[in-house]
């Protein structure tokens, strides 16, 4: 391995196509497809009394209207509960089309197929549904109060209750010299990719096969689910992920109602059928995340050392729970961050509400957990009048204590054991980057000028690269070009580039000769998906192993051809050479020709592999333990997750009059182990920080009491433009490689967003002189908090 591309800021191979306007996203495909529109519930909670489609039937171009009554077999059953858990005692999932009852405004009731979307929407408008509205349960407080139930057979609206405990938290709290309690809240936001959901299906009646393109984070997951729902053999279904215009978690959910209904309609009608979600639909019919209320009790000593902690929180899981309780499990475990805690008890309720479902959004429960722990750290520092970094440092797990077992069960069902990290070194880097030690004097000078400035800090540990596995396939073609496939999908992370860097290094070929395909079940049918910052760890590792297998085969075939010892061979620039013997070399393309014994030549080069040209007449052309061709296929399935970590600092200025919050500096120290492509990693951090700033200061899902989402548009849901971003994000990397995989990678996709709510709360608290306990925070909310603190508006 020459190692010359891994670690380099290689320009992305994806870009020329995307920049020329030649990307192929879901709605760019299927120009011949007919289109669907979905009739969605206008009520957050209601019984469906009657659906009258008669007025829609004479809309020109109408092809079909489906309601629940048209669904049969597995398709008439509720959609799958993807991740069962023993604590999830009351799991409920929705029907592909509502049966009798709707539980959130936006729930699908009827699917209309017409010649185009305009006509399908015309027909949707003419369907008359009679509803009996029911009281809506909106927000965590209402769900806990359980005055009304979302599902009549789920007492207290509690889907799941889970307790984990290490040590004896109650005793540790009772014995602690200092104790604090905190009440905290985090509101909803959402992934909000610029491209919404979408699916296109073609039924080939002659072959009895279904081909689906879908804007997903898991093509293999969709394939398995659609096969079951439509009663097809797995081999009859192919799922292809085209270019995907962002995911950020929401597209890991599957199958969406439309993902089973569109293939169903395509098979029924014998026409290609397409669904393209519009923006309003994405707000009311996809998924949200983040909403939690938290109660923290902590006990600590005079140095701020944690002695015991008890956390109780309530998680809003929306109307249904297709993704199980992964998000609150992550909150409850990743809350611990880089700290040692002798006694910890955590209990959560996952609660139903009559709102859009809650599934992982970048960070996936970690931002809430980090918010709880880091607000606690600041509260301890405030209580003891200690420097906030000092309180954190005294609690750090030390590098020589790795691997460190936190004593809990993580989201992958395995022990929460940190593999690597050097938290004191990370903190030192951050303090230097942001000039922490000069802060007090800077702040004092600013205050003297009538300015309010604050500096915040937050630390996190992020379990990345969860299993169960990913695979990779590497094939050298007779042209010498290398074709690589892995099953997980891409949504803009630059996988084609990063994986090509790995293969180019492993095989000694130019980057331009490597082509990577992701998310196509025809090319690689075994895969899990792209989530939990796992793609580089899982597929990166699997592809490296597959490339090593291909390399071994190359060297074996080349050694025979060159009559050399494989140990004396090197591969440079796509040619296998005997080291130190000029001229003794063979191209990879020729090696690929020789590796596949032929009866029939198809071009000049392939003549070399035919039966009268090559081979030992006394041996089998393909030995018993071998295969034709140069291919490597391997899988990576780690014992448990890798753990990346990082620390952020933000400097804010709050306007003394208007309470406007402005970011002055944003600093990141980040440890994701080995960097494959630092340019891509920094891009991931930038994007995460932007989503974090949005989530901390601007974005929320404004549900009214009736469960109507009041801000379901980009006009009212305030995603950051460049004007909300600081001019520059300062990043420093620490690379402590993971011992768990061949490349030492730890994953970077979600990192940027994880500490945002915590770091902004820390900074605004520092600027204002009182503790912020609820995020996001708007200028008007900060203004109101000042008023409550007894400040009179200046």
């Amino acid at each position: 391995m020459t190692g010359k591309l891994v670690g380099e800021p290689v320009k992305r191979v994806e870009d020329p196509r995307l920049l020329a306007g030649h990307g192929r996203y879901l709605d760019d495909l299927g120009h011949d497809a007919v289109e669907v529109a979905v009739l969605r519930s206008p009520h957050a909670h209601a019984q469906i009394l009657d659906i009258d489609v008669s007025a829609a039937l004479d809309v020109p171009g109408l092809l079909a209207i489906y309601t629940y009554e048209d669904l049969t077999g597995p398709l008439a059953e509720p959609l799958p509960l993807l991740i069962p858990h023993p604590a999830l005692t009351h799991g409920r999932t929705q029907y592909a089309l509502a049966r009798d009852e709707v539980n959130y405004a936006g729930e699908a009731i009827a699917l209309v197929v017409a010649e185009n979307r305009y006509l399908a929407e015309d027909a949707v408008q003419r369907i008359v549904v009679s509803y009996q509205p029911l009281p809506a349960v909106v927000g965590v407080a209402a769900a806990r109060a359980a005055e009304h139930l979302v599902h009549p057979d789920v007492p207290g609206n509690v889907a799941a209750n889970l307790v984990q405990e290490v040590g004896d938290a109650a005793s540790a709290l009772a014995a602690a010299p200092h104790r604090l309690e905190l009440e905290l809240a985090v509101e909803r936001s959402a992934s909000m990719p610029l491209e919404g959901r979408g699916v296109l299906a073609r039924w080939d009646a002659d072959a009895g096969r279904l081909r689906i393109w879908t804007s997903t984070q898991t093509s293999t997951g969709v394939r398995a689910a659609v096969a079951v729902k439509l009663g097809l053999e797995l081999g009859q279904v192919e799922v292809i992920t085209p270019d995907v215009g962002g995911g950020f978690g929401v597209k890991i959910v599957h199958p969406w109602p439309e993902e089973v209904l569109v293939p169903f309609a395509a098979r029924n009608l014998g026409r290609p059928v397409k669904f393209t979600e519009d923006r309003r639909e994405h707000f009311i019919a996809a998924a949200h995340e983040r909403g939690q209320l938290q109660h923290v009790e902590v006990g600590f000593d005079d140095d701020g050392r944690l002695l015991g902690m008890s956390v109780r929180f309530w998680h809003d899981n929306g109307a249904y729970l297709p993704y199980g309780i992964i998000v609150p499990i992550i909150t409850s475990t990743q809350l611990l961050g880089p700290y040692k805690l002798p006694a910890y008890r955590v209990e959560f309720d996952s609660l139903y509400t009559n709102t859009v479902i809650v599934t992982p959004y970048r960070g996936a429960g970690r931002p809430q957990g980090v918010f709880a722990m880091e607000r606690t750290m600041d509260a301890i520092a405030d209580c003891l009048q200690l420097d906030r970094t000092q309180v954190r440092a005294v609690n750090f797990i030390q590098p020589d204590e790795m691997p460190y077992d936190q004593g809990l069960i993580f989201q992958d069902g395995r022990p929460l054991v940190y593999d690597s990290g050097d938290f004191p070194a990370s903190l030192e880097k951050l303090k230097k980057l942001v000039d922490w030690d000069s802060w007090t004097s800077y702040q004092a000078a600013a205050r003297a000028d009538g300015r309010r400035v604050g500096l915040g800090i937050a630390c996190y540990v992020e379990g990345t690269g969860v299993g169960p596995y990913e695979g990779g396939h590497v094939q050298v073609e007779t042209s010498g070009k290398v074709k690589v496939a892995t099953g997980l999908t891409s949504q803009g992370q630059g996988h084609q580039t990063a994986f090509a860097q790995i293969v180019a290094d492993e095989l000694g070929v130019p980057l331009a000769d490597v082509e990577v395909v992701t998310g196509d079940t025809r090319r690689f049918p075994y895969a899990v998906g792209t989530f939990a910052s796992r793609a580089a760890v899982m597929s990166g590792s699997a592809i490296a192993l597959a490339a090593r297998a291909a390399r071994a085969k190359i060297l074996k075939v080349a050694a025979d051809a060159l009559e050399a010892d494989p140990a004396d061979l090197e591969i440079v620039d796509g040619r296998v050479r005997v080291a130190g013997v000029p001229g003794a070399e063979i191209s990879l393309g020729t090696v690929a020709v020789l590796a596949n014994p032929l009866r029939y030549a198809f071009d000049e080069a392939s003549k070399a592999a035919t039966q009268f040209a090559v081979g030992d007449p006394d041996a089998a052309p393909v030995p018993e333990d071998d295969e034709p061709g140069i291919e490597g296929r391997d899988y990576y399935s780690p014992l448990r997750s890798t753990f990346a970590n990082g620390m952020h600092a933000v400097m804010v200025e709050t306007d003394p009059d208007t309470a406007e919050i402005r970011v002055l500096r944003y600093c990141v120290v980040h440890d994701c182990g080995t960097l494959i492509n630092p340019m891509i990693v920094e891009g991931q951090v930038h994007g995460g920080v932007a989503q974090g700033i949005g989530g901390a200061l601007y974005e929320r899902m404004a549900y009214d009491e009736a469960g109507q989402l009041q801000n379901a548009s980009f006009m009212d849901f305030l995603m950051p433009y460049v004007s909300e971003m600081p001019d520059g994000i300062e990043i420093d990397h620490l690379e402590t490689p993971s011992p768990l995989n061949p490349l030492g990678i730890k994953g970077a996709g979600e990192a940027g967003v994880i500490p945002s709510a915590a770091v902004f709360a820390s900074a605004i608290s520092d600027a204002e002189g009182f503790q912020i306990t609820s995020m996001p925070i708007s200028p008007s909310e900060l203004f109101e908090l000042r008023r409550q603190q007894g400040e009179s508006p200046s």
Partner: protein
């Protein structure tokens, strides 16, 4: 039951220098007409209410949101989409090259709207300041990049554009000055 909005209109659009005769219902959006009638799918639709800017095309050189325009209202107009930014031989424009140089795109969905917007802005102001670069992209949403590298790409595109201009001038001088 023909709806009034389904009355068909024959229009001509000059897209990327090529005249297209299209028959569209009055309610057909320019974005849908470009994408599905002309199959120029480089123009993307992110919000359908003119906020995100992904669908931005140039009409007579001026950036406009194609999701807010009816195709019939564009009869006779000169329209440039992202597919028209590269040279006739496929050479990427300075703005496109700058995006690749600066890693100013991730998923690429919002990118066409940024490229058209920046192209028009640099035609007006070929050497923007950093602050002006931020203003140029101030009306476009991107969910992937955090904008840092897009700001860098605006400045890089200006550099590349200026260099291209200088080169063209030198070539012109050489041609106009027979030795």
């Amino acid at each position: 039951m023909a709806e009034p909005q389904d009355e068909l209109h024959e229009i001509t659009l000059y897209v990327n220098g090529i005249p297209h005769e299209v028959t569209v219902p009055a309610r057909r959006l320019l974005s849908d007409c470009l994408r599905h009638d002309l199959r120029l799918t480089g123009t993307h639709v992110g919000c359908e209410h003119g906020v995100c800017g992904a669908c931005t095309v140039l009409v007579g050189g001026v950036p406009m949101r194609s999701c807010l325009l009816l195709a019939v209202s564009m009869h006779g107009e000169r329209i440039t989409t992202v597919e028209g930014l590269a040279g006739p031989d496929g050479t990427l424009s300075p703005v496109q090259r700058a995006f690749a140089d600066c890693h100013a795109l991730q998923c690429g969905f919002c990118t066409p709207g940024f490229l058209t917007t920046i192209t028009a802005a640099l035609a007006e102001n070929p050497a923007p300041s950093r602050e002006q670069a931020r203003e140029i992209i101030g009306g476009n949403l991107c969910r992937c990049t955090g904008y840092q590298n897009i700001v860098a790409a605006v400045l890089r595109a200006a550099e590349l554009g200026q260099a291209e201009l200088r080169e063209a001038e030198i070539q012109q001088e050489q041609q106009g000055d027979p030795a």
